[in-house]
Symmetry: D3
Subunit: 329 residues, 6 copies
């Protein structure tokens, strides 16, 4: 998280904490007591001006809401800036739902400019159709791209003429996964599903799990650009090959930093007690993502390294500079 925040230059840090439990075995009342108890325990050590937790696996907006409420007992007033991922109704941010995908889109747009790639009718394959993947597909389609391949645990589907993304989203909402999507839409199933990565597309968006592009399949990747919406979709060995092949990679901690950026916006808005319209959130997100993209690209070119290394140079350099200025090193 420290490097992700640093690469997009937002004043948040890293750090993680959690509770060992299985929320699936707990009642709502137990979850509420646990959430409130956790905040009672950490509430003196965090705060809107100190450290600000964000959601992670097995938390949801309701859990963040309970924690925000419990924190208010400690402070004596409602301090929504203490935690992010809250429902909009009690201080969440507009635009948080598809923030990761929106952030990715901004980096893809800049990369396309850099590569001289027109997005109109550019072909796109998306692996993973959860929040990040489905929104990325939808947003790229809005930008005029043709989404020729999508996949999730229910299977991978391909259509040269472009998949109807809205229909796919609706289908998943009803059926849970994409399985059987070819029965209702004009497309064909790819087997094994991993073949979605190997489609001959302009833009490949891995938005599923870690370790999908590996030494085994990297030689079959035909995309001109890989926009890593997922965390760690490319293994280090495969990454080296991508670089050698000259494929333009937008590394994960740059590409998917839109989520944490809007979390940061949520903190800022909560602290101001003032909330931005969705358009302002998106515009500010765009400003940050674009600036980060070019900082990374210029650094990579300056040091003649790939984008991932360039992004680390930017991120580590910023943290180091701040530490040095504050006199810590």
């Amino acid at each position: 998280m420290t490097w992700k925040c640093a690469v997009v230059n937002i004043p948040l840090g890293g750090g993680k904490g959690g509770v060992i439990c299985d929320p699936k075995d707990m009642t709502q009342a137990e979850l509420e007591r646990l959430s409130r108890g956790y905040m009672q325990a950490i509430g003196r050590y965090i705060g809107p001006e100190i450290d600000v937790p964000a959601p992670d696996v097995y938390t949801n907006p309701q859990i963040m809401a309970w924690m925000a409420d419990e924190f208010s007992k400690i402070r004596g007033y409602y301090a929504p800036g203490v935690i992010t991922g809250k429902p909009i109704a009690i201080g969440g941010s507009e635009g948080r739902g598809d923030a990761t995908a929106r952030g990715a889109r901004y980096t893809i747009r800049e990369a396309a400019k850099h590569l001289g790639l027109k997005l109109e009718n550019a072909t796109v394959a998306v692996q993973g159709f959860g929040n990040a993947g489905s929104n990325a597909a939808r947003l790229m389609a809005e930008d005029g791209c043709k989404i020729v391949g999508i996949s999730d645990v229910g299977g991978a589907f391909h259509s040269e003429s472009g998949i109807d993304v809205a229909k796919a989203i609706e289908y998943v909402a009803e059926n849970g996964t994409l399985a059987g999507f070819d029965t209702v839409s004009d497309c064909e199933e790819l087997t094994p599903a991993e073949k979605v990565l190997e489609l001959d597309v302009d833009i490949l968006i891995p938005a599923a799990l870690e370790g999908q592009i590996t030494e085994k399949n990297v030689h079959n990747i035909k995309a001109r650009m890989v926009a890593e919406c997922a965390n760690g979709p490319t293994t280090p060995a495969a990454d080296k090959v991508l670089t050698e092949k000259g494929i333009f990679v937008i590394p994960d901690f740059l590409c998917n930093a839109g989520g944490v950026t809007v979390s940061y916006f949520e903190q800022v808005q909560g602290n101001m007690n003032f909330y931005w319209p969705a358009e302002e959130v998106d515009e500010r997100l765009g400003h940050i993502m674009k600036k980060a993209f070019w900082a990374v690209l210029e650094t990579a070119e300056k040091y003649n390294v790939n984008n991932r290394t360039g992004a680390y140079v930017v991120a580590v350099g910023r943290v180091a500079e701040a530490m040095k200025l504050r006199g810590w090193v």
Copy 2:
């Protein structure tokens, strides 16, 4: 106030407090001591991050200034966000003077769009010519409307070709009321003054007292749209008739919420120690009023109720949702 804030979706609540006294019998020095004493008494229980008083009858900007100053003794620094209605020179907001009228204009504009009514040359009658009424008349005239009727305690005046609003404002500034305005301007007096409500106009703006549109005169209302700038200008019984007659009503706690919205902006600006230009205040007000208008209209249509009921559904629903999320119910 709770519902008014909720319908425009600003994070303030309700609650009232006051002092039993007659400020007209008090010297300035007594008023100052009273204002400071009141703040000493409540100052530990309110604050820029807790509860923020706003002005009401018999307070004025100077009184709010004394209270803000006294609060600073408790906090040890100047905290203008603790109270609203302050003079601009010490942290008041630009655009607070005609905020109610500006807010009303935004809802009228959206309502006109909805009704397919062009504001250019649309006819308007305004009852009441105080802060809300005179500014509403002025602003609607700026939007191209023809103000064919105005009134205040000095009488009602009518002109088919449109009243010169600037002249009327100047006249009232000099003479206290509109009485005799027909002697200096091309218009005729209406008697009784209540006839201003019954003019055959596109837009009727009651901006005076409560209970003006009643069972007695509601059947004579000819306006296509009633924009309630006043608080409670329509009796419940008359409201039912307006609905039956198909007259489009912008209910008071939506229509006149511009005032509290800019109070809220004043708190936000004071907390940031940063003040927006008048244009930014107006633009942000517009964003909020428009969004609120459409939320109310869509809700009214969804549940097939009139706008007033729709506004309550929106407001109560928002408070209920927030309470539920925070675990209070």
Copy 3:
């Protein structure tokens, strides 16, 4: 500082503090200890919501960084709004580098409008080529002006066809001063250097030391407008003559208030934990400078005084009004 802040209407005050020492005789470690010790001593009495120090002679961004860091030990969290002039990497503001020159440019633009002077090809002479002077020359050149004279301790240089400002900036970066600039660029040296003030230009920008325009040389000033980027470049006696000659003066504490204004922005941004893009900083600076310029001009015209007196009337009047409203006088 009180009047400078008041004339641009920003909510900061005056007040100075310092340490008697010679930083040139101190090691970095000594400077760090001194800076931290100073903050330990004053840190309980200042703060982001109370009083906010800004840099002055012999401080630099690193010193401000140490102080901000030390303050964080007292508060228990990083509070960048406590101090301004910090490096951007730890909470400084975009646009602070050339803020004084940018602020001056905004007042020059408005003055030009007022005088009916087209900036395109207008001739400009700039005395002083440090931060304020060189940036002012660069920015005015960007606006289309012809910079016909510049000077610093290394000498004054003149070119009727316009000096290449970018080249001059580069030259000073390499050589320390302008001395010898005529050997690399198409221009001639003026001796004595003070003659740069007497060039026949539309706009004269004194951006060096105090007391440059005096009773001795004021009669030779031919500029139509004098924009005082420096502090106190004109003696009171010379000022009187400028007024008599009808030369339009933008008085120093208005003309060079861009620096403190962006310092103020730095505090606001630090308190929000949100940082504006450079464009937003510049736009907000423009809004403030323009509004201040016209307030001064209108006041000068209303009371039939020169701009300097007009600026004092505005500034003192604002402070007096605020004090009266808060019940202090």
Copy 4:
């Protein structure tokens, strides 16, 4: 409470708050939630250094414990000084159990000295055998008195040779009331029970309810001294007669102030995080009660009024003096 605290000169004030409910209809879990909720509601406005609640009817040590625990969530540390009446195990005071009776004993001892009455073999009647009455009987017996009459709702019992107080206490612990005590101990029942007030004793201790000594029975009172352990046992009319008869009265808010005094000690000890041995509590209680007794007596003699009036003069005078010194009046 204000006068009671003032007459014994302890720095606490008056003020009451409560919850409308019937604790007898509530489960322990409901009582805990109610107690914690009450503290969440008032916890920002009270505190060990501000206002300190003490127990009253229908509260018990467990309830005070819950409240103290809940307050610790607000403060972030255990602050036992916020509330009194806590169990000793979590910060209650030694000697609180029989504090009222101990306080009364100290005043009786001083009164006896004043009257030249030897406590050894002095006869005592006690009305009421709850906490105050039974402990008063026990303590006076320890001082050598002969307890010739006791009573409670179960009846009144009389023995010229002295009742075995320890046995009576044990009997009530087992049987709930004194009813039938004459069957196990050498004494006779008095009917009606009120006759206990009319026994020919040196010291009468009303320790039951209000309004026991009335116009009807005051003429039958034969005691030399009446020590009012109960609140308001004497009606105003009867009080006048007692004065006329020359009976020495220790008025209730002096006589029974031992309870609030040890509550005060509990606050002091909790704030110090240091707890006094029972002997120190008793000694400090004695010091306070003795000093209060003589202040009242001397005032009564100085102004030639009865003790009750003297006590009011002392108490009101102290509050008035403090208010005057602080500049409130």
Copy 5:
């Protein structure tokens, strides 16, 4: 003050502040506003746990009361420990009235033990009959001494058989000074009044102004012991002679430290919200004064210096040790 506190080993420091004004020219209302304004100005920088002002010339208990009350507005609760010298009714300490004299008595008692001087019938002369002098005379008389000489601005009086101190105190209360005391009491006037210093007594107590024992009269001093109740009664040159003559001197900042010690007790008691009986105050004062006396004497003997030097060695040594331990030097 730093050395005085250090020599008696109480955890207070030095430091002074004041207001330039003439309280004799001010009304009570002006004094109150001044006192409150002063506290508003310094109230953020002092406090019961930081720095605690004590009274000095031209302050009185009422002034300290106003300041304590004003401080309570800042803190939000009554914090009597912030200031000392308050009236007992609002948190002053018992025993503060004659604390200086009581402290002096304790040192005289120890010195007498050291010198083998019996206080019973020891002869004493006291210069000055204000608070310190008259109380010292009274207390030494209580210890069995014969007060053979007293003086104030009204004159000096001598009686070999001992002056009736109670009568003298009463006389001054009625007449302002001792002038004429020989007309009502069996004693003779000494002229000039300074002769009181030269009486042949066991103990001489200068309790008036600075610089009374000088090079001129030191050779006439016949006392065995000089107990300096006043500040600086002995000039450095005279001090040297006293040492040479072998007269035992209790130096001022030890001898008169009883006042600041009870000020310190007042702070401690206010912070505890618990007040000690007069006996406990006196006992604790005695403990401190005795311990200080012997520390000084042992140090003087150890280093073979006079008591004054010994006292400085003790005081400076304690401050130095604390600074070293805290890492300041």
Copy 6:
């Protein structure tokens, strides 16, 4: 620590923290930086009203002083109650030096009363001659005991007529250990040194290391009473035998609780800013130790268990009761 505090009923808890380093390899400057850095890190989470660290191995009073000083930077005032083990000069407690031994003496005195053992001429053996052991020997000698055996790493020494404890202490101060003590004093060396445990004495005081009384030597123990000054001197198996043999054991966490008790006094005194004379410290220590001794003994007798088990019953019971009352279980 939790059980030790609970058995003596002082309101402190357990919990440990530390730094992994070897202070013997560090300079004073490094130790100071480490100590201050540690406090900067934990200083927000502890405090005089929250958690209060005490010294442990490899800390010393200077280290505690640095930490107290650093804490004062965070709080803004000197708060000595935050940490214990400080030098007396900056807020340490009188009587801390031999607190463990004094506490042990109080328990031995009560145990002797219980056993009918006269301390006058009772024989005592002490294993260990560090702080606890040497002071215990000295104090028991003061009580009239005959110290017939002492030991440390330098050897064990025995004298039927009693060892000169003062001389032994002086010897160790000069020579580091007792080795060779028999050459200067009338006593004989015991070999192996462990034989000191097996002397035929009334009272055996193990004051050295853990695990000294084991299954191997327990059968040789002849003492009537074992007072465990060390932590864990008896193995569980040996403990069982001691119980079987009817030897009266004062278990370690009761016997040596004097140290933590005076640490607690140090916190209390620092918070009050008032320091008790050594006599008051000792008297309050005595009160606490005696009360704890009898609570343990009565519990052991009530449940017919040995003293160690009785002490656990007391300690665990107190913690459990407090947790239950506060609603945690």
